[in-house]
């Protein structure tokens, strides 16, 4: 009976990334900067920073700075306050490509040294993951999430995303795991279990910080109970902001980590 039921709706699985998917293209990512030099920035520069509850908005100052508006997507909790009050300066980024291979790479508009550094990181990661290719096993650890990131990771198992088609599987044992997905702001109670899980994984191993909380602590940090992101506990290879990141964004981060994102 269930077998017939399973055939009822035909194939519902996306073919992304091989083929475009309208929902993947429409994923709402973190906020981004549309105009880094608004005419009133001189007078209102401080005011723009105050728009953000996590302090993601600042102005590039100092010798290397050009006085432009910068937004750290690693701190963005997608509340939309900046977009709503200054639609001329801020907008939503669209699409699943939210992840970055280094933490400063999440700052938009991108800092000058990003392209070079990115190529270097990408090559390093590719060398590390060359052996994984078409069979990749994931282990997840919750280090203080709000529960939504777990839902979005689990969604990758449903027939719509079906990450198995890409040779990506969940594993219970860290001994079998190639990639560690970590969610949450780095709760102090989870520091030791997270470290033990990381240590139990064989090399090469990759860590993906899933969600703004994991990247920077988001709204839940600073707190006596969290460490302001998981980077303080384990070395991170891929930074994926989002509150929470959509399943397509997590899939993108996974494929980016193993060098299979075109």
């Amino acid at each position: 009976m269930w077998a017939l039921r399973g055939l009822r709706d035909g194939v519902v699985t996306t073919r992304w990334p091989a083929r475009p998917d309208p929902y993947a293209a429409a994923v709402r990512g973190p906020a981004t900067v549309l105009d880094a030099y608004p005419a009133d920035a001189g007078a209102d520069g401080e005011g723009l920073g105050a728009l953000c509850p996590t302090g993601a908005i600042s102005r590039a100052e100092g010798p290397a700075g050009d006085g432009g508006i910068r937004l750290d997507q690693g701190k963005c909790v997608q509340c939309g306050r900046c977009v709503a009050s200054r639609p001329d300066v801020f907008g939503w980024s669209e699409g699943s490509a939210a992840a970055a291979l280094w933490r400063p790479g999440l700052v938009v508009p991108e800092v000058a040294e990003t392209p070079e550094r990115l190529a270097e990181l990408r090559d390093g990661l590719r060398a590390k993951t060359a052996a994984l290719r078409r069979s990749v096993h994931l282990r997840h650890v919750d280090a203080g999430s709000d529960g939504t990131e777990e839902w979005e990771i689990l969604a990758l198992l449903n027939p719509v995303y079906d990450m198995h088609r890409l040779g990506i599987f969940l594993t219970a044992s860290p001994r079998h795991a190639d990639i560690l997905l970590v969610t949450g702001a780095g709760a102090r109670g989870m520091a030791e279990p997270l470290r033990l899980t990381y240590d139990a994984m064989p090399a090469p191993k990759i860590v993906i910080a899933v969600g703004t909380d994991a990247v920077s602590g988001g709204l839940t940090s600073p707190s006596y109970a969290t460490s302001g992101g998981i980077g303080a506990i384990v070395p991170v290879d891929v930074w994926l902001p989002g509150s929470p990141p959509a399943p397509f964004s997590i899939l993108h981060a996974l494929l980016l980590a193993i060098g299979r994102m075109p």
């Binding site: 009976m1 269930w2 077998a3 039921r5 399973g6 709706d9 519902v12 929902y23 709402r28 509850p53 909790v77 997608q78 509340c79 939309g80 939503w92 997840h140 650890v141 919750d142 280090a143 203080g144 999430s145 709000d146 529960g147 939504t148 990131e149 777990e150 839902w151 979005e152 990771i153 689990l154 969604a155 198992l157 449903n158 027939p159 719509v160 995303y161 969940l170 219970a172 860290p174 949450g184 702001a185 709760a187 102090r188 109670g189 989870m190 279990p193 997270l194 033990l196 909380d213 988001g218 709204l219 839940t220 600073p222 707190s223 006596y224 109970a225 969290t226 509150s243 929470p244 959509a246």
Partner: protein, 500 residues
């Protein structure tokens, strides 16, 4: 919405008189809805919440600054069991006579430990939990403990279950919930009401809308704000879509535990359909940013006609698969008589949401203390199921799912006719204190908050997950290790809401 009823504050330090009031109120039919502490200049304020048809009543007293202990309520009212352990963690005061006064959310040595002390400005920058402060409970010959967690197979939130077993039966279960404690109650302090809302949405992310509603209801009661009709409808729309997603998530977990691959896939797909509908309506898959103090941020981006047709299609698909699932004998066998909660215990504890309803005890806030558009909409509250096992908990969820579809159709119809107008009432609050509630998919969520000079000085979220999870201790009468995933999934709770 009915107004706050404050039972006059008890004379300072007279905790016993406060407990007398609480116990008497419970005996008269009120539900014990929570207990928490607040560090104030005059001492430690102990606040109990009592839920009834008139609203959520607050009863409190002040412990003198010098007090290091107080007589435990748990001896007289078992439902306070975890609440008093949390108070001990947060403030270091000892509930005298508590049957198990060990740490819950923040394991630390009893002497000389740093305490967060919510309500008091400032506080420790970092507190390292020390699991050695927790005893192991293995008793009896031939028993051993299977630690299960905090890193568990699959994609789970962090909790550790210590299953004490002679081999197959589970005579005793111990839970360690502290791992993902985030210290959110201290984080709220000093925030503006607007920032606090963003954090409230992230206390228990899978119940984002219910937490935002309970939080905003508290603010709106201080401001005496009337939410515009269209906004009240949009709130119900998102609250019920959230309920659908959560209940479908439980169906996925149960089907997965039973190894029904097709059923798991089908319900997983339906859940995805709900989340996509939510994201099309508001931009966020979890309804974030919709509920704001005084109303909602905007109308759904999906037209009422499209909503109606999407909801109709989804209802057909979900109902057909649910009927098939409830006709699958091998599945029902795993749930029947698994993890039973007796009606007496459900009533005594004031078990919330589907867990209570499956044991014949219902105190649905949408029905008893209605808010937003619920007083006007037809709720069709189904009769509670009485057996209290995992099967009845699933039956309650299916009842709630069809109830949600019924509500969603009404909302879509009403939205099509709702007159254009503002979607927010003025709700600027600088000072005040109030309690707000909302019925989350897991059961009732409570927010007790205080604002001074435009900043939160105390914000206490109490999720249904926190209130209900403690019941898991008692659900293993005759059940064996392989029943564990069914029992856990049937409760449908979120650890984020438990540990905060």
């Amino acid at each position: 919405m009915s107004s706050d009823v404050m039972m006059g504050a008890r004379p300072s330090g007279d905790v016993t008189a406060l407990w007398d009031d609480v116990v008497a109120a419970v005996a008269e039919g009120h539900r014990f809805a929570g207990l928490f502490g607040t560090a104030r200049p005059e001492g430690l304020v102990l606040t109990a919440h009592l839920a009834g048809a008139e609203g959520v009543t607050v009863a409190e007293t002040v412990l003198p600054v010098t007090a290091t202990s107080y007589p435990a309520l748990t001896r007289r009212l078992g439902a306070a069991f975890w609440y008093e352990r949390e108070i001990a963690d947060m403030f270091g005061v000892i509930p005298q006579g508590h049957p198990r006064p060990e740490p819950l959310l923040l394991p630390q040595p009893a002497e000389g430990a740093l305490r967060p002390r919510p309500g008091e400005p400032g506080g420790p920058v970092a507190i390292e939990p020390d699991p050695r402060a927790l005893p192991l409970h293995v008793v009896g010959p031939g028993l051993f403990t299977i630690p299960h967690g905090p890193v568990r197979s699959g994609v789970m939130e962090s909790i550790e279950y210590l299953v004490e077993t002679p081999g197959e039966d589970i005579p005793h279960l111990n839970m360690r919930v502290f791992y993902k404690h985030r210290g959110l109650e201290k984080r709220f302090e000093g925030m503006t009401a607007g920032d606090g809302l963003l954090l409230a949405e992230r206390v228990e992310g899978t119940a984002t809308v219910a937490h935002a509603l309970a939080y905003c209801h508290a603010l709106e009661r201080i401001a005496a704000a009337d939410v515009p009709w269209a906004a009240a409808l949009v709130r119900v729309l998102h609250a019920e879509l959230e309920r659908l997603a959560c209940h479908l998530d439980v169906a996925v977990r149960l089907a997965d535990a039973a190894g029904l691959a097709v059923a798991t896939a089908r319900f997983g797909r339906h859940k995805e359909t709900v989340l996509r509908l939510v994201s099309r309506a508001c931009g966020s898959r979890f309804g974030r940013g919709v509920v704001v103090p005084g109303g909602v941020s905007r109308l759904p981006l999906v037209s009422p006609a499209d909503l109606l047709s999407d909801i109709g299609r989804l209802e057909g698909a979900v109902t057909a698969d649910a009927t098939a699932l409830m006709g699958t004998a091998s599945f029902l066998d795993r749930l029947r008589r698994t993890g039973p909660l007796s009606p007496e215990r459900a009533r005594e504890h004031g078990a919330l949401g589907p867990v209570g309803k499956a044991s014949g005890y219902s105190d649905d806030a949408r029905d008893v203390r209605p808010y937003d558009a619920y007083p006007t909409l037809v709720l069709q509250q189904p009769a509670p199921w009485p057996a209290g096992d995992a099967l009845d908990r699933l039956r309650v969820r299916w009842d709630e799912v069809s109830q949600s579809f019924h509500l969603l159709r009404q909302v879509a119809g009403e939205l099509a006719q709702a007159p254009a107008g503002p979607l927010r009432a003025g709700c600027d609050v600088a000072d005040g204190r109030s309690v707000g509630w909302a019925e989350a998919p897991q059961g009732e969520v409570l927010y007790d908050l205080r604002l001074e000079g435009g900043r939160l000085t105390r914000c206490r979220p109490r999720s249904a997950s926190f209130h209900n999870l403690v019941l898991m201790h008692e659900l293993f009468a005759g059940d064996i290790l392989t029943d564990f995933p069914f029992i856990e999934a049937s409760l449908g709770l979120s650890m984020a809401g438990v540990t905060r």
